[in-house]
């Protein structure tokens, strides 16, 4: 399933999806960036409440399919622009990380 399809099915808000054909497989929840880099797999959906610029670098380097910001966390415009330029897909969920992960069950 692509990031765009997943977003539509789960009712997430699209923050930016510069790579809309990207396939998603599995998910990882985490806010400690090194922990995410050590444990998340390529093509995962990464659910986090962190919103600083380093999230974009970690997402790009870890090769996750998308970042899903839980709890309605917002990114500054400058960070969104960086995500777009680095091809990092970012979605947003009003739910908690746990509830967001439940929505993903059986879809990816």
């Amino acid at each position: 399933m692509t990031v765009s399809e997943l977003s539509a099915k789960c009712g997430f808000e699209t923050v930016c999806v510069p790579d809309n054909k990207r396939q998603v497989s599995g998910a990882y929840i985490g806010d400690l960036l090194s922990w995410v880099m050590g444990r998340a797999s390529a093509d995962n959906a990464w659910i986090t409440i962190m919103s600083n610029i380093n999230v974009i670098a970690v997402a790009a380097l870890t090769d996750v399919a998308c970042v899903i910001l839980a709890e309605d966390v917002c990114l500054d415009d400058e960070i969104v622009n960086t995500a777009k330029s680095k091809g990092v897909n970012v979605l947003k969920s009003s739910l908690s990380a746990y509830e967001t992960a439940i929505l993903l069950t059986d879809k990816i």
Binding site: L32, L33, S34, I53, N54, A60, L61
Partner: protein, 141 residues
């Protein structure tokens, strides 16, 4: 053996917002060389952790990435305070990072362990009050 391709980067210290630029750039360079996504991922993450460490602890430093035919070598060098106890620093969860660093999502004590996890070989030379050189190797085949 043919000469390696060498990429050199200066890592700006004390600036978390620009940390990762060298790693993102090396990712692009390795992609252009046609290396596999998994190798690129391992090199990028190991290097990013090194970059972050240099920003957190050493006011920056340098990174050199050498691409040989069968392996990639990453050499990270800084003039920071050095690592007092390397075995302890290699332990998952051990960190001397500040609260500010932690609030940004770093300082989980996973930096060096991740560098070890994603590389085939890692060597750390550190002298207190002089600096640290981390040499990592990732086999390509």
């Amino acid at each position: 053996m043919s000469e390696p391709l060498i990429f050199h980067f200066d890592i700006n210290g004390d600036d978390f917002s620009t940390a990762g630029q060298a790693s993102v750039q090396i990712k692009k360079n390795l992609r252009q060389l046609g290396l596999s996504p998994e190798i690129i991922r391992r090199v990028s993450i190991a290097m990013y952790e090194g970059e972050i460490n240099m920003v957190i602890h050493a006011h920056g430093g340098t990174a050199d990435v050498k691409v040989f035919e069968n392996y990639i070598e990453i050499i990270l060098a800084d003039n920071g305070p050095g690592i007092k106890d390397i075995d302890l620093a290699m332990k998952e969860g051990y960190s001397t990072a500040s609260d500010t660093t932690r609030s940004l999502g770093f300082g989980a004590g996973m930096g060096l362990p991740n560098m070890k996890r994603y590389t085939d070989d890692i060597k750390i030379d550190s002298i207190l009050d002089v600096g640290t050189v981390v040499t990592m190797r990732i086999n390509i085949s």
